[in-house]
């Protein structure tokens, strides 16, 4: 009888109190560590007479940037240089994600076909890419392949795309009309020209990441029960229709979380652009750090930007994952 009576549990025996306490303790430790580290940093900087702040940003940068989607000259300021790097990184990451998805899908499906030669080729490509460090591959790709493309006067044409060691020219919308690139003397005329560096980092990242995305797709498709393929075949769908209408929409559930990781990897790996001389966010930031000595501020901002883009990518992919989830009960 006395057991069922509502008695106050002493706080040191209350499991709810433990749960709250653990969280409070954790937050206190984190804040204390942050305050200590930041205080330490400030006193160290003060001792060495290094100022902290972003007052250096509007001063003249004085260095050239080879590739830029924005107005930029050597007399632009650090903030503008930083913006050029940011845009370059965003371009490489977003175009890279789209192209890597397309080639990854092709690789993944090629690995699943019953055609022996095609599936072997896909496997060999995947295994090579998975077993080579990205930095090594990028240097090889840039020095070994992109450098040794034909001279501009002998540019290789793949459809409307022109490929040379002075860059790659692709058709592009100029003033509302599609402009096809042509070679005039020693330069490309018309279209959009990717510098050898932009081409190297973009294609290098795409080739590398597509192999991983291919594996993600392959695993996702293999996770679909065999009965789904059989039902599709029995209803008379062709192989491509079964994949497109039945298998991929279901496989997406399994594919999206690891695919998100690959997208984030590609974005972060774009910071290896320095290895091929492409001025991305990180490589421009290192130049700014060298010139100004403001390492703490620059690295904090760069980390913040990579964190933000990664979180935005994750957020979008989670939203999409939720959209394609199966409805049960």
């Amino acid at each position: 009888m006395s057991d069922t009576k509502k008695t106050r549990i002493p706080i040191w025996r209350d499991e709810r109190a433990y749960a709250v306490l653990a969280q409070v303790a954790f937050v206190v430790v984190v804040i204390a560590a942050g305050v200590f580290l930041f205080g330490n940093l400030l006193s160290a900087l003060r001792r060495q007479n290094i100022p902290i702040g972003f007052d250096f940003l509007p001063t003249r940068a004085g260095f050239d940037i080879s590739d830029s989607f924005l107005e930029y000259t050597a007399s632009s300021n650090y903030l503008q240089a930083f913006q050029v790097g940011l845009v370059n990184t965003l371009v490489v990451a977003s175009v890279g994600i789209v192209l890597a998805s397309v080639f990854g899908l092709i690789t993944g499906l090629a690995g699943l076909t019953h055609n022996f030669i095609i599936s072997r080729l896909a496997r060999v490509y995947t295994e090579i890419m998975r077993n080579v460090p990205l930095l090594v591959f990028l240097v090889f790709w840039y020095r070994g392949i992109v450098f040794n493309l034909p001279k501009i006067s002998e540019a290789l044409s793949i459809g409307p795309i022109l490929v040379s060691n002075r860059g790659v020219a692709i058709p592009w919308l100029l003033e509302g009309a599609l402009s096809l690139p042509v070679v005039r003397g020693r330069i490309f005329d018309g279209g959009f020209v990717l510098s050898p560096e932009l081409f190297a980092i973009l294609s290098g990242l795409v080739i590398y990441t597509a192999a991983f995305i291919g594996e993600v797709i392959r695993a996702g498709v293999q996770a679909i029960p065999r009965g789904q393929f059989e039902a599709a075949r029995a209803l008379g769908f062709t192989g491509m229709q079964s994949i497109r209408l039945i298998v991929l929409p279901q496989a997406l559930r399994v594919i999206i979380p690891p695919l998100t990781s690959q997208y984030l990897n590609l974005t972060k790996n774009s910071s290896l652009a320095a290895a091929v001389g492409y001025p991305d966010l990180w490589s421009i930031s290192t130049v700014i750090i060298n010139q100004t000595g403001r390492a703490v501020e620059m690295i904090a901002v760069v980390m913040g930007i990579y964190l933000t883009t990664s979180l935005l990518t994750s957020l979008f992919m989670n939203w999409y994952n939720n959209k394609v989830r199966l409805i049960e009960r």
Binding site: Q228, R233, A234, L235, G236, F237, L245, Q250, V324, L326
Partner: protein, 252 residues
């Protein structure tokens, strides 16, 4: 097809000396069976006797390595066009339903008519609703398969196969994954279908269905038909020892 005992003109399905191997395992050992238009054939036999493999060769979910299979005058060969034509004439219902879980019931039924038969959405939707009426679940059209009971799912699967207007329906143990009270609702739909004159091959151990609806029962053992006949005769006076043993086990 001189070996066939049925008039080839009226035969919907003709299988002559069909063999199938899975690696070293000889799964089908010269099955010969002819099914007439409108005939309902029930296939029984112990598990591993090759009955599922057999009906799966008829729409090429499994490839046979020797013998001939002719469906409605089209021979099943490596010719992709023949395979496609036969698949579009043969509907199949699986033990595990195999509905597409990412599509609603209505979409499950309309997808193949729209994509394979190039039917427009309105017409496909109208046919699908009529079929749902016929399998007695018109109110479930906009639900997803995961929201339905097993018996309802299997009836959607039957409607999905019928939407392609097949000339033959294959049933691969359609009630084996169902609770007893759901078996009845699926069998009722199958009985209706048989009465409408559909040519059917059903792998099932539902004795009542076989007794009341089947024109013929085939008993499979070790990759071949050991005994075949009208249900009344086969169930009351089985000749083959293997058939007697099997029937005594399922009839208690």
């Amino acid at each position: 097809m001189s070996q066939s005992n049925t008039n080839p003109e009226s035969a919907m399905i003709q299988c002559v000396d069909v063999h199938k191997w899975y690696g070293q395992f000889h799964a089908l050992r010269g099955v010969t069976l002819s099914v007439a238009r409108g005939e309902v054939v029930v296939v029984m036999g112990p598990s591993g006797s090759g009955k599922s493999s057999f009906i799966r060769t008829i729409n090429r979910l499994e490839e046979h390595q020797r013998g001939t299979i002719i469906v409605d005058g089209i021979e099943l060969t490596h010719d992709v066009r023949n395979i496609e034509r036969i698949r579009s004439e043969v509907g199949m219902v699986f033990q595990s339903f195999n509905l597409f879980p990412h599509l609603t019931v209505l979409e499950n039924i309309t997808l193949a008519p729209m994509r394979v038969r190039k039917m427009n959405r309105e017409r496909a939707g109208k046919i699908a609703r009529e079929l749902l009426e016929r399998v007695r679940i018109p109110e479930q059209a906009d639900k997803y398969p995961g929201q339905l009971s097993g018996g309802q799912q299997q009836r959607v699967a039957i409607a999905r196969a019928l939407a392609m207007e097949p000339k033959v329906m294959l049933f691969d143990e359609p009630t084996s994954a169902l609770d007893p009270e759901m078996i009845k609702e699926v069998l009722e739909v199958m009985v209706d279908l048989a009465k409408s004159g559909m040519t059917m091959i059903c792998v099932t151990h539902e004795m009542n269905f076989a007794r009341n609806v089947a024109h013929r029962v085939c008993f499979f053992d070790q990759g071949n038909i050991v005994e075949m006949g009208p249900p009344a005769k086969l169930f009351s006076t089985p000749e083959h020892e293997r058939t007697q043993l099997f029937l005594s086990q399922i009839l208690h």
